[in-house]
């Protein structure tokens, strides 16, 4: 299957969206698993399990692969996926707008859902969130003084004791749930993998993913917020604990 042919066709663009969407979804399923490590006890005193995990992500595959290689491999797949997904989303949205130049006075929808009709909106808002999220925890652009790569636990603790970030993160998880309520089923139909034998199962799967995945993500900010994971860790402690980088 020639990728250029695919990109030049509408059905092809939808296939690209479904495949890149699935990559992002698979990544999020791994990501949420990693996040749950904040709830595990420290393997050694003063060393949070999530920090050990963050280190592992960079040393994964060593000595076969150089430091950070596997992590960058995954990052490149994700960056390409996000770019293709958004490009196709915007191009298709533009085409759809042209396909109905005069709108109905009041379209009487029977089967579609609000999440399905708001895919572009939930997607674009998620994009804003993804930028904020990377700026905050990956690049440390937000509040750089406090940012300390190896102390993921400390960074999380400081962020999620502030109502502003709690609200943003919970809101973003709501958007993810909306996007996946339609998307996690739609991708099967786009790829021609749904049929009447499977439809109920696939709809159920999408429902479970769209509630379960964002809810599990939300456990982390919520637990910090209610103080279940201790008080906010001051920056100084954080730096001392990890001895810088």
């Amino acid at each position: 299957m020639n990728p250029i042919t695919l990109y030049h066709s509408i059905l092809g663009k939808k296939i690209i969206m479904a495949v890149t969407g699935s990559f992002m979804l698979l990544f999020l399923l791994l990501h949420v698993g990693g996040n749950l490590k904040v709830f595990l006890p420290d393997p050694q005193p003063g060393m949070a399990d999530i920090n050990v995990y963050a280190r592992f992500l960079r040393t994964m595959g060593e000595p076969l692969l150089p430091y950070g290689f596997a992590l960058w491999g995954v990052r490149i797949i994700l960056i390409v996926s996000v770019l293709l997904h958004i490009t196709c989303a915007i191009q298709l949205a533009h085409r759809n707008a042209r396909a109905r130049p005069v709108k109905y006075k009041h379209a009487a929808y029977r089967e579609t859902s609000y999440p399905a009709r708001w895919m572009l909106i939930s997607g674009l808002l998620m994009l804003c969130y993804i930028i904020l999220h990377l700026a905050q925890f990956t690049f440390g652009w937000i509040n750089p003084a406090a940012f300390n790569t190896p102390d993921v636990f400390g960074d999380l603790s400081r962020a999620f004791h502030r109502p502003f970030y709690i609200v943003i993160y919970l809101g973003a998880m709501g958007l993810l749930g909306l996007h996946l309520f339609h998307g996690a089923w739609s991708l099967f139909q786009t790829l021609g993998l749904d049929n009447p034998d499977r439809n109920r199962g696939l709809r159920l799967l999408a429902m479970v993913i769209s509630i379960g995945l964002p809810a599990t993500f939300a456990l982390v900010p919520l637990s910090f917020a209610v103080g279940a994971l201790g008080p906010a860790i001051p920056e100084a402690t954080s730096a001392a604990m990890t001895g810088g980088n």
Binding site: T5, L6, G12, R95, R110, S186, Q189, L193, N195
Partner: protein
């Protein structure tokens, strides 16, 4: 019964249209929607005005001409019917009824409620055929087929090409129509020789027209007067993927080194 009608009036393609208001009284509940429109047009003609242009032909739900969006629904509020099979008893006395044409860039308005659906014809011409031999007629049932598969093909073949799927789709996509035509032939043994070229050519023609892209909203299936399932859209997506990855060079030379 009496009704207030808000009807889209437009002089021709490219003209700016608008809603006109009409009052109609003494409507029998047993009139079909089109009969009510006929009575309205007589009333309009008697007042020396231009009657509302609308399409109809068979008036028995099989030709697919009676394209009207009634209160925001293609073919009106009752699922599984065409406009001509809709009766005034389905509406409540005194109701305001909004009547619009199919709204799609691919179906330009010719006048009032009449649209030009030749985009559908071009999609069909691109691949909606099978090759048959012109010799003696084969024996009936000489081509074996699983009866479940032939029933499935008949479900797809029940498409009357009315265009309600495009009109109902939030994106103005023509996926259900194209999928029904592709599937109905590709499911049958007689349709196998063109199986790959059919889906590629029909999809590419569909994409060359001003239709939108499928968002899997399933509004098409919900408004199709024949209740054609979006299962056929999945089937077409599958056929398209299969055709794209089919070998292009079937008879080329291969080397071992």
């Amino acid at each position: 019964m009496k009704f207030t009608l808000e009807i889209w009036r437009q002089d021709g393609p490219g003209h700016i249209g608008d809603f006109a208001h009409y009052e109609i009284a003494d409507v029998s509940p047993d009139m079909s929607f089109l009969e009510m429109m006929d009575v309205l047009n007589e009333q309009i003609s008697e007042a020396d005005q231009v009657p509302v242009a609308f399409d109809s032909d068979c008036r028995e739900g099989i030709c697919g001409m009676c394209s009207m969006v009634i209160n925001g629904s293609p073919h009106g509020p009752i699922p599984g019917t065409t406009t001509c099979q809709l009766y005034m008893r389905h509406f409540s006395d005194g109701e305001t009824i909004t009547i619009e044409p199919w709204r799609s860039a691919a179906f330009p308005v010719l006048k009032d409620l009449i649209v030009d659906r030749s985009a559908f014809d071009r999609v069909l011409q691109a691949g909606g055929y099978v090759t048959v031999h012109s010799g003696p007629k084969p024996d009936p049932n000489s081509v074996p087929i699983d009866p479940h598969v032939s029933e499935e093909a008949l479900d797809a073949a029940s498409c009357i090409g009315c265009g309600a799927c495009v009109a109902a789709c939030p994106n103005g996509a023509a996926m259900l129509y194209t999928a029904a035509k592709v599937s109905h032939l590709s499911l049958m043994p007689q349709g196998q020789p063109e199986r790959e070229s059919r889906v590629l050519n029909m999809v590419h023609q569909m994409e060359a027209e001003d239709f939108g892209a499928c968002g899997n909203h399933a509004e098409c299936q919900a408004h199709c007067p024949k209740g054609i399932s979006i299962n056929f859209i999945g089937m077409m997506n599958r056929e398209y993927r299969r055709a794209l990855s089919a070998p292009k060079d079937r008879r080329g030379h291969m080397d071992s080194q």
